[in-house]
């Protein structure tokens, strides 16, 4: 009966989709901006900018990207 969803839940986006997504910050080469899943968001491994994933749709628009030092709620 126990739900171990913390370990077994499907990722917010598939791994092979995540592998081709990149951060769009002009401060680093596009191809360097590999993203990692962080909670319900994607975080750039280089600059720390975060991108929301809305019901499985990553929002990769720069205008909506969340700076490393900002909270998601304040963005």
């Amino acid at each position: 009966m126990a739900d171990s969803s913390a370990d077994t839940a499907a990722p917010i986006i598939p791994d092979d989709f995540l592998a081709i997504l990149r951060c769009v910050n002009y401060d680093h080469p596009r191809d360097d901006g590999v993203l990692r899943i962080e909670g319900a968001m994607l975080r750039c491994a280089v600059c720390g900018y975060r991108y929301e994933v809305d019901d499985g749709i990553p929002n990769m628009l720069w205008d909506d990207a969340i700076p490393p030092d900002a909270s998601a709620a304040a963005s």
């Binding site: 997504l21 991108y51 990769m60």
Partner: protein, 246 residues
């Protein structure tokens, strides 16, 4: 402007025959080349008709657009093999060389910086990958082009510019791609439905139609005519396929 405009046009674009079907869709898929097993990106996907066609041809397909409501619609009607991402074509959020195929159908005229968009589409293509741009084109006759530009920007403020066929081919070449094939076709429009898609009211519609048919240059270039109670025209379309050198 464009992002907000398209967020409010989901229903109109989803019902648009121009976007849903026809020779421009068939040619786009044809010029995309072998699709089975390919990884494809359809930029500015709108309601997703082109992305769906690519996926139906067995390509794993990413549908991208700046408008999340469009993407939700595209995904809602999606076959298998479709991913969606909010992404600006002039600043694509994808890895270099990620895709075997990139398509851009009925969208290039919306880009503020067409060459930047083409460069981005070329960047995400793998060596040997193929870009297909399908778009309405500007007539070579400057008078017809100028008249239509005014008509189109009045109808749709998100419109930026149409390119002539030669200029669009040049944009693809300058993005570093080898132009492999071009096809000319056209998209037949019912003028009133075309105006309704962007919410143009009756008074403006009547003004635009008068402009269309009293000026001989656009009337001839776009075959504008009224048959029965229906006002029609045909917009020439270019489909251009470019290949990234291996």
């Amino acid at each position: 402007m464009t992002r907000a405009a398209f967020a409010n046009r989901v229903a109109a674009y989803a019902a648009s025959p121009t976007h849903r079907e026809g020779p421009t869709l068939d040619l786009t898929v044809d010029l995309a080349g072998p699709l089975r097993g390919a990884l494809a990106l359809d930029v500015s996907t709108g309601p997703g008709f082109t992305a769906h066609a690519l996926a139906a041809a067995q390509a794993r397909t990413v549908a991208a657009d700046v408008a999340l409501p469009m993407l939700r619609h595209a995904r809602g009607a999606a076959p298998q093999r479709l991913w969606t991402a909010a992404s600006d074509t002039q600043r694509l959020a994808f890895a270099d060389g990620a895709f075997d195929v990139v398509t851009c159908r009925h969208a290039f005229h919306h880009y503020a910086n067409g060459p930047a968009a083409a460069a981005e589409m070329a960047r995400v293509l793998a060596p040997g990958g193929r870009l297909v741009i399908t778009d309405t084109i500007s007539p070579d006759d400057p008078a017809a082009a100028a008249a239509m530009h005014v008509i189109e920007q009045t109808r749709d403020p998100s419109h930026v510019r149409n390119w002539t066929a030669a200029a669009l081919v040049q944009v693809v070449e300058r993005a570093g791609l080898r132009v492999e094939r071009t096809e000319h076709t056209g998209t037949a429009q019912e003028f009133d439905a075309w105006c309704a898609r962007t919410g143009v009211d009756a008074a403006v519609r009547a003004h635009l139609w008068r402009r269309f048919v009293t000026d001989p240059a656009p009337r001839a270039a776009f075959a504008a005519r009224q048959t029965g109670g229906t006002r029609r025209f045909v917009w020439p379309v270019l489909v251009v396929a470019g290949v990234r050198p291996a």
